[in-house]
Symmetry: C2
Subunit: 353 residues, 2 copies
């Protein structure tokens, strides 16, 4: 097969981790007789520097024309202390999500047997954890009307959802649950928020279309608690944009390393694959960042965007092997053990595929 | 001294745990020569059943006239599966917060040396944790305009904050930080929300009034992560209503038991003290609920509302002793160890004061 992939390396360590994912993807393509055509495009702070906006039209066109987008990370410290700067890298991210119609962010959380003791949570609490969040990504308070009143003394943000928005996200949740343990948890704050009541009534009305799926409804505060108490009691969770932002980051703690967790954002047009970690500015250019989350995002891309399960499994297998053999970057290297460079980990993966 | 305390037992296990806190408070009062006058009042589901509303005017008047309010828990399963029921116990809670002007919810999170292994988090991650959240409690998306449009197909909630609301909460945060390690963390989502930008700029402008306090600004998603990774890196945290709801519940996991954590809500009128746990309906009437969170809430009341530090310390000391000696309810009793009844724990505390 032949694929066109838009390559959005972004800022900070983005280019370094993307580079390793490209190496591994190319090696897999070669092994399985596929052809990948990569098209790099600008996004984030480096796009602001180059052309003044964080998600240029040209980048959007490249993404729209591609079979998948592989994304690194965006963000630069020069924007961090001024959240009201007129142009910010994050705006590019939000615009990209909106324009590509990426309404569902898919975030698996699982543990690696060889790394289970890296987690701040006790082994017996997390063993067997294998949950997936579906976070709504193009609605809610992120995109509602916001602004100031009373000479700037009052600020407001509006959270809005339509039934159609909830339905399309929930549909993906039900479908995913059908391929797994048939358990779906809808996370909301229906005891306080009207948008949450719309979520709950919409999901409740869909239950009859999926009679095999057992649906539970839990309040976001209770989930924030239970997620770290008994993570392996969850399977598929669906939730709105802001709750998803908070809970998926919380869930990333379970595995013990942000540097390992992949994600996908899917929707109306091209799907996007990215590590859950950020641009880690302090490590930029040092060749020390962990490339595995990006490599595993590429595996998700092979499986979900191209339907190539065997290729994805081959990537996951070699990643597991590298973890077991301790071919890891400094974030995962035990005390006294050798820490490999970003590019060395990538080289090892390619050599051992 | 002489105190009038409004006693709002509420629903579920509320009356049982309140009962033990009253016993302990009366014993402390006797020991230190104070006089407490308790005035019971209705709230929650039991108020709906009795008079049709969850926070009756009469209850409000009793609270306004009291020196402090001691609160149990509210909520009843008959309301749980219908979050849009016209009258709900939670409305009483929100109305009470609003009418009493309880704009700051104070939630300490700490560990008990004798229980540290109950936590799902590893000992080395939580040892020494002693943090306090100040959650804004009468503003934000809880109280903004909400409703439906387009024949019910669109729902919206509005999050609103004024500079004055942020200021009065932040002031408490700075003052609290001054009495502790002089570290304050402002939790927001200023990279996305206008209300968060107002929070951040307001707190930033206050920094010069408290030159000794080191303030950090962190995004809510990052805090959700770091809170379970390195809880003892935090001291005083301030945040808006909804973020506070989620993060304080998450933080309660650290101590290993919801049944131990007290809280206070303070503001314009009478302050209120309550355990952080809910009404635990399944345990109602079984005399098995853990009364310690309510007893420790009474300790906070003695110290903060009445300025009686010695009395508060005496309560905390006897609670610690009960934990060390294993005089605990079933939620804390080790495998094979005896589980004491709610009232037995209270009796033991009184006898050992
Ligand atoms: C950078 C920020 C706008 C973004 C979000 O809140 O969605 C990030 O936290 C994420 O989860 O991808
Ligand atoms: C019951 C509910 C309305 C309430 C809240 O969200 O504030 C509760 O979760 C709390 O934290 O006291």
């Amino acid at each position: 097969m032949k694929f066109n992939i838009a390559l959005l390396a972004g800022d900070g360590i983005g280019p370094e981790v993307i580079n390793e994912a490209v190496k591994v993807s190319d090696a897999i393509a070669k092994k399985f007789n596929h052809e990948i055509n990569w098209t790099p495009a600008l996004t984030g702070a480096c796009a602001i520097d180059a052309v003044g906006v964080p998600y240029p039209d040209e980048t959007h066109e490249i993404c729209m024309a591609a079979d998948a987008v592989l994304f690194g990370a965006i963000g630069h410290p020069k924007y961090d202390n001024d959240p009201s700067a007129p142009v910010r890298p994050e705006q590019g991210l939000l615009l990209m999500r909106k324009k590509l119609g990426l309404f569902a962010n898919v975030r698996p959380t699982f543990t690696f047997p060889s790394l289970i003791d890296n987690s701040p949570l006790k082994r017996e609490r997390i063993e067997g954890t294998d949950l997936i969040f579906l976070r709504e990504l193009t609605g809610g308070i992120y995109f509602g009307e916001k602004g100031r009143k009373d000479d700037g003394e009052t600020a407001f943000d509006t959270c809005t959802y339509t039934r159609a928005e909830v339905k399309r996200l929930a549909k993906k949740g039900f479908e995913l649950a059908m391929t797994r343990s048939k358990k779906l948890c809808c996370v909301d704050k229906a005891n306080v928020l009207e948008t949450s009541r719309l979520w709950r009534e919409t999901v409740q009305a869909m239950e009859k279309e999926y009679p095999e799926v057992t649906v539970s409804y839990e309040f976001v505060d209770a989930v924030a608690m239970r997620l770290v108490q008994w993570p392996n009691s969850y399977d598929v969770l669906i939730t709105e944009n802001l709750f998803g932002d908070i809970l998926t980051d919380e869930a990333s703690v379970i595995s013990g390393s942000m540097g390992l967790m992949p994600s996908a954002s899917v929707g109306e047009h091209t799907s996007l694959y990215e590590p859950i970690h950020g641009s880690y500015p302090q490590a930029t250019g040092l060749n020390i960042a962990n490339p595995l989350a990006t490599v595993l995002s590429a595996a998700m891309m092979f499986e979900d965007a191209f339907g190539l399960k065997e290729e994805a499994e081959a990537i996951r297998a070699v990643v597991n092997k590298s973890l077991e053999q301790g071919i890891v970057t400094e974030d995962l290297a035990g005390k006294g053990a050798k820490a490999y460079k970003t590019s060395e980990v990538g080289d090892w993966l390619v050599a051992n595929l």
